[in-house]
């Protein structure tokens, strides 16, 4: 009775919480809730906390790279062993415990039921279980820093035989904890994904056809499907690796009939689709924002969906571009070069559609819009540098250099960090009922964007100059010890410090506005989608009266209407019918 689950009933929207009436304990309200919005917040705050940890780890190892051998303030001395753990856990955290929970789980949970006009996910309790498993996995990962031998340091790709044997990686416990944590994280997202997919398929409001679903919902659902289809083999691989580590099997041990390359295939068969799992929700968020602030219909809604599907399908046949020189049959590289370059075609179209959407608009440069536009501008750099890597002949040189590092930070940072800030600043009024401060928001924006480019542009150059990845100190490599390169490394590290400093503006803005921000009202951005038709923050059960949908989500500046927006659930009045 006292569980928040009661909120799932339709009555909740109208009266919400009367104090004293529903005696809801802190535990039940914040930790044991099945409400999709609360679970979204759990994912969001956990992801944000881990983002800060991942950022801190990056700060530590970048300091070591800029000033090798010096004690890092706030950490201590970075030994080679610790360097490897720092990098490995940084990469793992940022992808699995920041990008996925924030972009897929937090936004997916918050937006899907609201945007498709229903009260919750189809399986609220599975949803809660998903978060709990996720939290457990995060704790296991972090605990690995404390065990004997330290956290796993064999890179986020965890290639065996290094990852399979304690005598090789010197962190037998850490490597098993890493593997268990990642496997649990996969389970959490499989459960979450089931909910997203089935809710969107079955739970839509009456009248909402396939083509009326907001792009961000599509993107999160497609990302969930990609995840589900790609992660299966890696789950199998994780079981095998766990057995190799703990039970003495030899699946990846060449001395005993196994094959270390098998892991690489399983990993990248997942790993490449995974990067689109992170990219797509960010693209979806950006689509919602640019249409609202350009007051424009999306330029070719269907084109976006077709190209997304095409990207999704192609993403399953490009994985070996991570393994060109891994010892696979060299003839295979030719096939994968072709598929890899072809995947640029749908993505180009998608990006061009986004740019074209601005044409004829009336653009307001609010903070969320700045984030959304900068996503496009920065992702383009990350995307085109992928082409260098996809061309097998060029990848011989670039593979495992900082050029790759720069490439994927120019794709991941826009997706995970810029995309997250775009979404957060845009939906903050809906989530918390208050507006963020625009001035602080813009300071934070410019500080972050400039610092971000300052971190990673120099790394393209050090990469082209031959800096290899995962090296704690270049002292033994005279060619990489050129002073110019060291200066670039230092420039990059200064960028990290600036970037971290500017996050203070965000945190202050975030917490200050929770209490003191201007009240948002239902629809501060004059937007069309259904989440803006309910109070901010939405009550349990979301809709006082479940909506019916009459049109697509992007009807801005429709001719013949007084207002320049047209909510999806607004019925056509006889008057308007005449005008159309």
């Amino acid at each position: 009775m006292t569980t928040p689950a009661t909120g799932a009933h339709a009555h909740a929207g109208s009266h919400g919480h009367e104090p004293g009436h529903h005696e809801t304990s802190f535990f039940h309200k914040y930790l044991w809730s099945t409400d999709h919005k609360m679970i979204a917040m759990q994912y969001l705050f956990t992801g944000a906390a881990l983002a800060l940890i991942g950022g801190y780890l990056a700060y530590v190892f970048r300091m070591q790279l800029a000033f090798p051998g010096h004690v890092v303030p706030g950490y201590g001395l970075v030994t080679p062993n610790r360097y490897n753990s720092l990098v490995t856990i940084h990469g793992s955290i940022m992808i699995f415990w920041v990008a996925m929970p924030v972009l897929v789980a937090a936004f997916g949970n918050f937006l899907i039921p609201l945007m498709i006009g229903c009260d919750d996910m189809v399986f609220p309790r599975i949803n809660r279980l998903s978060y709990q498993i996720f939290l457990l996995s995060a704790l296991i990962l972090l605990s690995s820093f404390l065990v004997k031998g330290g956290a796993f340091g064999g890179a986020w790709t965890s290639y065996p035989p290094l990852s399979a044997k304690g005598i090789y990686n010197l962190s037998p416990l850490g490597s098993t904890l890493w593997l268990v944590a990642v496997a649990l994280e996969f389970v959490a997202f499989l459960l979450g994904g089931l909910n997203f997919i089935v809710t969107t398929m079955n739970g839509r409001a009456p009248g909402m056809r396939m083509w009326d679903i907001p792009v961000v919902v599509w993107m999160i659902v497609i990302a969930s499907v990609l995840f589900m289809a790609s992660v299966g083999p890696l789950i199998a691989g994780a079981i095998m690796l766990l057995f190799d580590q703990r039970l003495g099997t030899g699946f990846f041990d060449p001395g005993r009939g196994g094959d270390p390359l098998l892991w690489q295939h399983l990993f990248w068969f997942f790993g490449h689709p995974e990067v689109y799992v992170v990219l797509l929700p960010a693209l979806g968020i950006v689509a919602e924002i640019i249409t609202v602030f350009a007051r424009k219909k999306l330029f070719g809604y269907r084109t976006i969906l077709y190209t997304t599907w095409a990207t999704g399908v192609l993403s399953f046949v490009v994985w070996a571009h991570h393994q060109f020189i891994a010892g696979i049959d060299p003839r295979m590289a030719n096939v994968f070069t072709i598929t890899t370059l072809l995947i640029s075609v749908p993505i180009t179209e998608m990006i061009f559609v986004y740019i074209a959407t601005l044409y004829g608009g009336s653009i307001q440069f609010t903070t969320p819009m700045l984030w959304a536009l900068s996503f496009i501008a920065e992702f383009l750099i990350g995307g085109v540098t992928g082409i260098f890597l996809g061309a097998s002949g060029a990848d011989i040189y670039f593979h495992d250099t900082y050029f790759v590092v720069a490439h994927f930070h120019y794709t991941f940072f826009p997706s995970a960090i810029i995309g997250m800030f775009a979404g957060l600043t845009f939906w903050y009024p809906k989530m918390f009922g208050r507006m963020l401060n625009e001035t602080l928001g813009k300071i934070h924006f410019w500080g972050t964007i400039i610092a971000f480019n300052m971190i990673f542009l120099p790394l393209f150059i050090t990469g082209a100059a031959g800096d290899q990845r995962r090296i704690y100190d270049y002292a033994l490599f005279p060619e990489q010890m050129r002073p110019e390169l060291q200066h670039l490394r230092q420039l990059s590290t200064v960028g990290v410090m600036i970037l971290m400093t500017f996050q203070v503006f965000f945190l202050v803005n975030f917490f200050w506005s929770l209490k003191h921000g201007k009240r948002a009202g239902e629809n501060p951005w004059l937007s069309n989608t259904l989440e803006w038709t309910v109070p901010s923050p939405p009550p349990h059960g979301n809709f006082a009266e479940l909506p019916t949908v009459y049109r697509g989500p992007y009807e801005y500046a429709t001719p013949g209407r007084k207002e320049d927006y047209w909510p999806q659930n607004a019925p056509i009045t006889p008057l308007e019918e005449g005008a159309l």
Binding site: T79, N81, Y168, F299, T337, S362, A377, Y474
Partner: protein, 246 residues
């Protein structure tokens, strides 16, 4: 273009550099076009009083060309990149020119060691020269290398040669290079291989045939061989590893 950042010293280095230049020109062009379009639209259609936004679905016949034209152009550009990329790849990795010399490269945590034929020119005989951390090769000679690993994955990378190849335990992977410039260059390990990955350095010494012969004579004389084998560099590395391990 790459020459500016890293010297090239093998026969295929220029072809890889040209490929990179070609890609840079093509995608650079697109990048600039896209960024200019983005910023121009942002400036042109910023909110101004009296200018209402237009209603464009993007599905109108005369507008879809803005998607279809880039579509075909990008496919064309992809082809222009794919063909030379594959040609370069086949040259470097797929078709090996006949070997004039063969060396064996062994990788292990965390050192490189090499085995090459001694004065008799045949591998696996008593006079084979074994070195640690340092590989001596002749200029303008096609070398085949047989790459092996004794424990985990490593990667044999010589940036000036534009050469990189993972070493996989249980397999022997054969590749080739032909140096075009004398000098001493870095050998890197570019595959995460554990704690000492950052210490797994080596040097490759490219010599003229005369220098090489002189070197060979020096190391083949039994008295000296012992002192040369563990090269000074690597001995220092090993002590460093011991020192830093926690």
């Amino acid at each position: 273009m790459l020459e500016r950042f890293a010297t090239g010293a093998s026969t295929y280095a220029p072809s890889i550099d040209h490929l990179i230049l070609l890609i840079a020109v093509i995608v650079g062009f697109w990048l600039i076009v896209a960024e200019i379009a983005l910023f121009w639209l942002m400036a042109r259609f910023r909110r101004r009083d009296g200018h209402a936004p237009q209603y464009v679905t993007g599905e109108e016949k005369h507008l879809t060309k803005w998607v279809t034209i880039p579509h075909f152009l990008v496919i064309a550009c992809d082809l222009v990149i794919i063909v030379p990329a594959i040609l370069v790849w086949m040259n470097v990795k797929q078709t090996l020119p006949p070997a004039q010399e063969t060396v064996r490269v062994f990788s292990q945590q965390w050192a490189w060691s090499f085995q090459q034929p001694g004065p008799d020119g045949i591998l696996d005989t008593a006079d084979d020269i074994r070195t640690v951390g340092e590989l001596h090769v002749k200029e303008n000679t096609v070398y085949h290398f047989e790459l092996r690993s004794r424990d985990v994955l490593h990667s044999f990378s010589v940036p000036v040669f534009r050469l990189k190849q993972d070493a996989v335990p249980g397999r022997t992977i054969v590749g080739w290079f032909k140096a075009t410039r004398t000098g001493t260059f870095d050998i890197q390990c570019t595959q995460m291989c554990g704690m000492g990955h950052g210490l797994m350095a080596g040097r490759i010494v490219v010599e003229t045939p005369q220098q090489h012969a002189a070197w060979m004579k020096r190391v083949s004389s039994p008295a000296l061989a012992a002192s040369v084998a563990p090269s000074s560099d690597t001995a220092a590395d090993n002590s460093k590893i011991a020192e830093v391990s926690r």
